[in-house]
C-alpha cells in the first residue's frame, strides 16, 4: 500500500516535470514532438506576438525552420520567453533546445559558457539617431553633442570609445531604462540617441513623426546576433547551422516559398541538391532528404523572412545593408550544399 502511494506521488510529481535522458538532442526533440525555442520577451521584428497573438519575427522563423526540417511541420515549436539573465542557463540546463534571442556572438560567450553560436542571422551594430532639423549628416559632425544613453550597457562604452578615437567631445545624459532614454530624446533633452541600429529603427517607428528623425550611416560596433545551441552535440549543431545556411542558399538560388514546387523540376544542379531531388544531404543530418524543401515551403528563404519581419516594407523599415547576400554587397554567405 505504502509503495503504491509512493509510486503514485512520484508519478504525480513527474507529471509536471520532464525528464529526458542524456541522449542526443535531436532524438529527444523527435521523441517529444516539438522544438523548444528560447525567444525574447518581445522585440518587434525579431520575436514578438503578432495581432493574432502568435510569435513572429526573424528569430522565430529560424525556430520554425528547424521544426520544418525535423518534423516537416513548421508549427511544431514551443516558445519560452527568456530574460537576458536566464537565457544561457535555460539553454545549458536543457529547458530550451535552441536559443534564438537577439544574442550577440562574442568570444567569451562562445568559449566559456558551454554553448555554441550557430551563425549570424542578423548583423547589427550601434548607430546614432538625430533630428533631421539639426542638419547633421555624419557621426563625425557630432562633436559637442548631448547623447542619451542607457547606463551600464556596452552602448555607453562603445560611444565613449568612438568619440575618444575620433578626438571629439560629447556629453552623456544617462538613464537606467530604455523607455526613459527614448522619452528624453523625444523631449529634446539631448541631440542624439544611440543604441543598436535595429532598435533605433524600431524606436523611430514609434515616434509621432518618424520622418523627422534620421539614423546616421556610421555603425560603430559589431553586434552579430545569432541562434545558439548547447555545445557538445555536433549533430544538433550541424542541423541548426545548415538550417541557417539553407535559408541563405535558397535566397541565393532564387528559391522562394512561392516557387519551390516549380523549382523541384529545375535543371540547376545546385537547386536539385538543395531540394533533395539529387543526392541525399538530409540523412547525415538526421532528417529527411527533402529537409530544405520543407523549410523553404513553410518558412521561405532568408530574404522572405527578412522582408516580412524587419524589411523596408515593415514598420521597422531596415534596409538589408550588411545582411544582404555576399553577391549583393552584404556579408551573408553560405557554404555550398554538395
Amino acid at each position: 500500500m505504502q509503495k503504491q502511494l509512493v509510486a503514485l506521488t512520484a508519478t504525480a510529481i513527474l507529471g509536471l516535470t520532464a525528464v529526458s535522458a542524456q541522449a542526443a538532442i535531436l532524438d529527444d526533440v523527435k521523441a517529444k514532438g516539438y522544438v523548444q525555442c528560447g525567444v525574447t520577451g518581445g522585440v518587434p521584428g525579431f520575436s514578438a506576438p503578432d495581432s493574432n497573438n502568435v510569435w513572429t519575427g526573424i528569430e522565430v522563423d529560424f525556430c520554425r525552420a528547424m521544426a520544418a526540417a525535423v518534423f516537416n511541420d513548421a508549427e511544431a515549436v514551443r516558445y519560452t520567453s527568456l530574460t537576458s539573465q536566464e537565457r544561457f542557463t535555460a539553454l545549458s540546463a536543457g529547458e530550451v533546445d535552441v536559443l534564438s534571442r537577439t544574442t550577440t556572438w562574442t568570444m567569451s560567450r562562445d568559449t566559456q559558457l558551454g554553448i555554441s553560436f550557430v551563425g549570424t542571422m542578423f548583423y547589427d551594430g550601434q548607430g546614432f539617431m538625430v533630428r533631421k532639423a539639426d542638419g547633421i549628416e555624419s557621426a563625425l559632425d557630432l562633436s559637442g553633442a548631448a547623447i542619451c544613453i542607457e547606463s551600464g550597457t556596452t552602448t555607453e562604452l562603445n560611444a565613449a570609445d568612438y568619440f575618444a578615437a575620433n578626438s571629439m567631445e560629447f556629453n552623456t545624459v544617462v538613464f537606467v531604462d530604455q523607455d526613459e532614454v527614448v522619452k528624453a530624446y523625444e523631449d529634446g533633452r539631448c541631440d542624439v540617441y544611440t543604441t543598436d541600429s535595429s532598435a533605433l529603427a524600431a524606436e523611430r517607428s514609434k515616434f509621432a513623426n518618424p520622418d523627422d528623425h534620421i539614423i546616421l550611416p556610421e555603425i560603430i560596433s559589431k553586434e552579430p546576433l545569432g541562434p545558439v545551441v548547447r555545445a557538445g552535440d555536433t549533430q544538433w549543431f550541424n542541423l541548426a547551422r545548415w538550417t541557417y545556411f539553407a535559408l541563405l542558399e535558397a535566397e541565393e538560388l532564387g528559391v522562394t516559398s512561392a516557387n519551390v514546387d516549380e523549382m523541384l523540376g529545375s535543371d540547376n544542379p545546385a537547386i536539385k541538391r538543395l531540394l533533395g531531388v539529387e543526392g541525399d544531404f538530409g540523412t547525415p543530418l538526421g532528417v529527411t532528404k527533402d529537409w530544405a524543401y520543407q523549410i523553404i515551403k513553410s518558412v521561405g528563404n532568408y530574404a522572405e523572412s527578412y522582408d516580412r519581419n524587419v524589411g523596408p516594407a515593415t514598420p521597422i523599415g531596415l534596409e538589408r545593408g550588411l545582411n544582404a547576400l555576399w553577391k549583393d554587397g552584404g556579408i551573408q554567405y553560405a557554404p555550398p550544399i554538395r
Binding site: A48, S51, Q85, E86, G94, S205
Partner: protein
Amino acid sequence: MTDIGFVRSDMVSARPAPHRTTGAVAWARKNLFSTPLDTGLTILGLLFLAWIVPPLFGFFIGNAVGPNGTVEQCRMENAGACWAYIAAEMEFFIYGFYDIPEHWRPNIVFALGALLFVPLLIPKAPFKRTNAVLFIVVYPIVSYFLLAGGVFGLKVIPTEKWGGLLVTLIISVIGITLSFPLGVILALGRQSQLPIIKTVCVGFIELIRAVPLITILFMASIMLPLFMPQGMTVDKFLRAIVGVTLFTSAYMAEVVRGGLQAIPRGQYEAASALGLGYWKRMWFIILPQALKHVIPGIVNNFISLFKDTSLVYIVGMKDLLEAVKTKNDTALEWQSGNTATTGYIFAAMVFWVFCFGMSRYSIYMERRLNTGYKR
C-alpha cells in the same frame, strides 16, 4: 374647583431642526468654512480640483479615443487615452498566447471559478462544505485539464502559452488558497513544544522572510535548473506558483502568530480543562479567535500577493502587466504618443478593481465577525 390642569395626551411633534443647522449651506459651513484656516484649505482644495480635473477628464474621456476608434485618431494632436488599443489587444491581455480558437476553455474556467467562489463569499449561501470541497479539490483538477488539454481530445496548450490576466488570477488564487493554511500550520509549528518541528518552522520562516521575492523567483528560474539532473526540468509556471506560495506563507505565519499571541493563556487552559486535545483546542477555541484579530493583516498579505504576481516576469511568464508591457513594445501598428500610457493605466485599473474588492470584503468580514468587541 374646575379642573384647569392640562395633560397632553400625545407627543409634541418634533419641529424641524433650526434652519442654520441643516441643508447644504449648513453642512458646508460646518465642514468646509468653520474657521479661517478651513476656509483657506477649502479654497486651495477647490483650486487644486479645478486645476487637475479638466485635464484628467480630457485625457480619460473628453479627448480619449473610444474602443471603436482607429490608430490614426490616437495619433492625432491632443488625443487622449487610446482605449481602441486596449480593445484591440484585449485578448492578449486576458489570455496571452493561448490559442484563439481555444479561448472558450479559459472562459469556462473563469465562469466555473466565479460560480463556485462567489457563494463561498456569501455567508447565507447554503451547502458551504460541498461548495468548499468543490472549489478547493475538484475545481483545480478540472481547470488544469481544461486549460492544459491532452485529455478528451482537447488540444494540448503548454503553460508557456498561458498569459495575461489568466496567469495573474491562477497564480493568485492558488497562492492565496495554499499560503493561508500553510501559514497557519507554520505559525502553530513555531509555537510547538517539539524542538524539531519548531526549528524547522522558525528556520523556514526566517529564511524566506529574509529574502526578497525577486530573489526567490530568480533562484527558481536560474539556479534550480543547475541543481537538477541534466535534462530534467520543472514547468516554469509551477516554479512561479511554488515560489509565490512559499513566500507568502512565511509572512502569513507571522501574521497568524500575532493573532495567537493575542489570545489570553486562560483560553488555552480552559480548553485543556475541557479535555480537548491539541487539534480540537486549536480548531474550536484558539484559531477562530486568533484569526478574527488578524483579518486585516491576512488580507494585507493577500493583496500584496496579488500584486506580487507581476514579478513572475522574471521567470519569463507573461502576467497581465507583462502582457501589457509586451504589447506596448511590440504592437507597432498601434504606436502613438499615449498608447503605452493607456496600457499601463488599464493594468493599474484592473489591479485596483481586484485589490479594492478584496479590501472591501475584508472590512465586511471584520464587521460580521467582530461580535465580541463591538462598540
